[in-house]
């Protein structure tokens, strides 16, 4: 399944992309993260969260959206 991944903050530098289309087999967030780390090994020891439909997802949540956000730790304010 082709999905669009948006990178934010420091992750745009680590992956050297602000967005990309990736072909993913995962049906859960956990598996999605594993596949993405295979594509981008530089993400391996990084802290990030996965959001879809503007909502942070847990590891076991199903991957349903066609657009996924990868968010590093927040540092607003």
């Amino acid at each position: 399944m082709k999905i669009k991944v948006h990178y934010y903050g420091q992750l745009t530098e680590i992956t050297q992309k602000s967005e990309e289309i990736v072909d993913i087999n995962a049906s859960t967030v956990e598996d999605f993260k594993k596949e993405l780390i295979q594509l981008h090994p530089e993400l391996k020891n990084r802290t990030f969260q996965v959001a879809q439909n503007n909502t942070i997802q847990g590891e076991k949540d199903p991957l349903t959206a066609l657009t996924i956000d990868l968010l590093p730790p927040f540092s607003g304010g």
Partner: protein, 147 residues
């Protein structure tokens, strides 16, 4: 993606004292209000390894930030008896000494605003997908980490 009733909290660049003054003025017709409490975040010129921060560049997942901001707003109104609540955050570059964050609550008496404001500021800092990049005077930078 813009939903009804969801406000845009983002301001391009620094939040000016004139903007804050206007926001205060807007409440003068609300004569049930007795107490306002305003939090302002200002960019510090922190010195790190001998280099001084000269600005912070903010980026965000704006759509998500606005939606979560809206949810925090509703939850805070449910928790505290407030008349008004306003949340503003900079996007883009804000120089050291300038204001990047402005949170404003109003109520009948001081007790409620003193309780509500720290709660609200903390929620926003913890939950909003906003990312700060601290730029030094020599144009090198580091990604900001919240305490």
């Amino acid at each position: 993606m813009k939903k009804k009733g969801i406000k845009n909290i983002f301001t391009q660049g620094a939040i000016t004292p004139a903007f804050i003054a206007q926001s205060i003025s807007n409440h003068q017709s609300k004569t049930q209000i007795g107490a306002h409490d305003l939090f302002l975040g200002q960019v510090r010129a922190d010195e790190i390894d001998g280099k001084k921060v000269q600005a912070i560049e903010y980026t965000a997942q704006e759509d998500m930030a606005n939606q979560i901001g809206h949810e925090i707003r509703e939850a805070t109104f449910g928790k505290f008896e407030l008349s008004c609540m306003h949340i503003h955050h900079s996007i883009g570059t804000v120089k050291a000494g300038e204001i990047c964050f402005f949170v404003f609550v109003s109520g009948a008496h001081r007790e409620v605003v003193f309780e509500a404001l720290p709660y609200l500021v903390n929620e926003i800092k913890t939950k909003l997908p906003v990312f700060g990049k601290e730029v030094f005077e020599d144009s090198s930078y580091q990604w900001k980490v919240n305490q």
